[in-house]
């Protein structure tokens, strides 16, 4: 399997990454090099094997914990917005999306 320049453009769009042409070219070579070693993985027979997400689930049941849906934090709007690129009147600013 080999990716094409079109694949790289499509993936970069999905990932919201602007790539310069030379960057795309380098990326194509490197990613195709990487998928060379992935082939070995694709050939493994995994019929009937359950995917493993939490590693400790190999030996015991692990239930992802849910906490009660109650506010546990005080209002920290200012601290939370201190590192935001653009804020006005306590709101995050983004470029206009709706005409």
């Amino acid at each position: 399997m080999s990716l094409t320049p079109d694949d790289i453009a499509r993936i970069a769009n999905l990932a919201r990454l602007e790539l310069h042409p030379d960057e795309s070219e380098r990326m194509l070579t490197q990613i195709n090099g990487f998928f060379g070693i992935v082939e070995a993985m694709r050939a493994v027979d995994t019929t009937g094997v359950e995917p493993l997400a939490h590693p400790v689930a190999v030996i015991q049941d692990v239930a992802l914990r849910l906490r009660a849906d109650v506010a546990s934090e005080p209002n920290q709007r200012e601290a939370n917005q201190r590192s935001a690129p653009a804020v006005e009147r306590g709101l995050f600013l983004v470029p206009k999306v709706i005409e």
Binding site: L17, E50, I59, S72, N80, P85
Partner: protein, 491 residues
């Protein structure tokens, strides 16, 4: 006031804690001493941020608690954090331009727990960008140098942590390990580091890379110091980390001195194949011989999917990274591009400018393997093999109590040595990835020296929750050898 025979910076965590409690040294003296060393060794590139006022305030508070008799177990011990942990009082960058100047509104749980135990923060340590790398060369700010040979890499991604501890700029540091990022730099810099069982340490406030793999752990100069630190940084965090295990805090130092007579050490044949360089093999076999002298028995085992762990890891970790890193969109925090046409263009330019090459590569791989039509063939397939790899370990642990082998196939390579070949870095992770995928505790223990008189690390892997057994074996080895107390020339 300090009058011990050793200079302050040669004291370990346990020794320093005892001197502080005994009033032989004050927290302020200790903090000043280490800050001075950090300044005079700036060219090593270990630190990304130091704020003397923050450190000295913490030190004065520690002295007050020592005087008042309300001291924590690590009161006044200086320590530095990998810059992947967010801190309220110091910048948090994850080694990325994306987070230049970022200030977190809260402390990571690991940071808070260590502060509760009394540690004084010396600053934030250099690392590969978002912990992606094995040489620290992916830091957006500066590379770090290996104190044993300034022309070589310290390893990564917790490279700054390993440099700081090896060069005696801090008695200990925190690190994180996703695919070997505590063990490999510890090995390359001749220090001791442990990654606990996945779920032991809270991931809250650890800037996320691959959430099903990321674990925090201590890096120090001895197993004893690691045990002390690990006991204070682990513990359930039920409301803030949904994958944190509901296990009570443990005293991991409780069995440090136990006999290892009769201990069965599994030797995976796949870790000693042709990919292992001769110098590393000789050093590792040397310390395995020391274990035998103490009554341990070496048992041949097999981890047949060792090589497969490379593609499996490099599918799963980038997949999770591409999802985690989608939060960097130039809206709520971090970098935002100056000029753009519209919202989507702002996202694309912001991310193009803020992320480095390796991070972009992993985001691309991750996005691809999670995209429509490829998810089953790559991501699910990788997760299935992940289970097979974890099962292989359970099979192996039927005939042994712990597993030993090299941490890495070679000693630290030269800065720039892997050129622009990311695959070379990936392949060098082969011996640390299997335990990461299985979520098992693993550590690196100094095992002597190889080519270029560079340190070699022995990797010890335990079954789930057996950190104290690993630390016990490592401690006994450190009683019988002195590799862990050697220090680089000129330090």
């Amino acid at each position: 006031m300090h009058s011990a025979s050793k200079p302050l910076h040669d004291l370990g965590v346990a020794e320093l804690a005892a001197s502080l409690r005994a009033g032989q040294v004050s927290a302020v003296e200790a903090a000043q001493h280490f800050l001075g060393r950090a300044r005079s060794h700036e060219s090593l590139g270990a630190f990304l941020a130091i704020d003397e006022e923050v450190t000295m305030n913490q030190a004065r508070a520690a002295d007050a608690r020592l005087a008042a008799g309300t001291a924590g177990p690590l009161e006044g011990v200086p320590l530095a954090h990998k810059d992947i942990f967010v801190t309220k009082d110091l910048p948090s960058t994850a080694g990325s331009r994306m987070l230049e100047g970022y200030r977190s509104p809260f402390d990571a749980t690991v940071v808070r727990k260590l502060a509760d135990a009394g540690v004084v923060t010396l600053g934030k340590l250099n690392c590969d960008e978002f912990a992606m790398g094995s040489s620290n060369e992916n830091s957006a700010y500066q590379p770090a140098c290996n104190p044993w040979d300034l022309a070589r890499v310290p390893g990564g991604s917790s490279g700054g942590s390993a440099v700081a501890v090896a060069a005696r700029l801090a008695p200990a540091a925190t690190g994180t390990d996703t695919g070997g990022s505590i063990r490999q730099p510890a090995s390359f810099c001749g220090i001791t580091g442990i990654k606990p069982t996945y779920g032991r340490a809270s991931r809250y406030g650890m800037i996320a890379f691959a959430s099903s793999l990321d674990q925090a752990g201590p890096m120090a100069r001895s197993a004893e110091d690691c045990a002390l630190l690990l006991s204070n940084l682990c513990g359930p965090d039920p409301d803030r980390d949904s994958t944190s295990l509901d296990l009570p805090t443990e005293d991991f130092a409780r069995s440090l001195n136990d006999s290892i007579d009769g201990l069965r050490i599994g030797i995976p044949k796949e870790f000693f194949g042709e990919g292992l360089s001769a110098d590393v093999r000789t050093a590792v076999e040397g310390v395995l011989g020391e274990f035998e002298k103490m009554g341990a028995r070496l048992v041949p085992i097999s981890l047949p999917r060792t090589e497969l762990s490379i593609p499996v890891y490099y599918i799963i970790a980038p997949a999770e990274a591409s999802s985690n890193l989608s939060r960097f969109d130039g809206v709520k925090f971090g970098h935002r591009a100056k000029a753009f046409a519209d919202l989507v263009d702002m996202y694309k330019k912001t991310r193009a400018e803020g992320f480095g090459d390796e991070v972009k590569r992993r985001i691309m791989i991750g996005t691809y393997v999670l995209s429509h039509g490829y998810y089953d063939a790559y991501y699910l397939q990788a997760q299935r093999i992940r289970r097979m790899i974890a099962d292989d370990f359970q099979q192996a642990f039927k005939s042994c109590d712990l597993i030993a082998g090299p941490v890495a196939p070679t000693v630290a390579w030269k800065l720039g040595g892997h050129g622009n070949d990311p695959l070379a870095d990936y392949l060098a992770d082969i011996f640390t990835l299997p335990a990461s995928l299985a979520g098992l505790p693993g550590m690196s223990v100094p095992a002597g020296f190889g080519d270029g008189a560079m340190p070699v690390g022995l990797q010890l892997i335990g079954n789930y929750f057996t950190e104290s057994r690993l630390l016990n074996a490592a401690h006994r080895l450190q009683q019988a050898t002195d590799f862990h107390s050697r220090k680089p020339e000129g330090v």
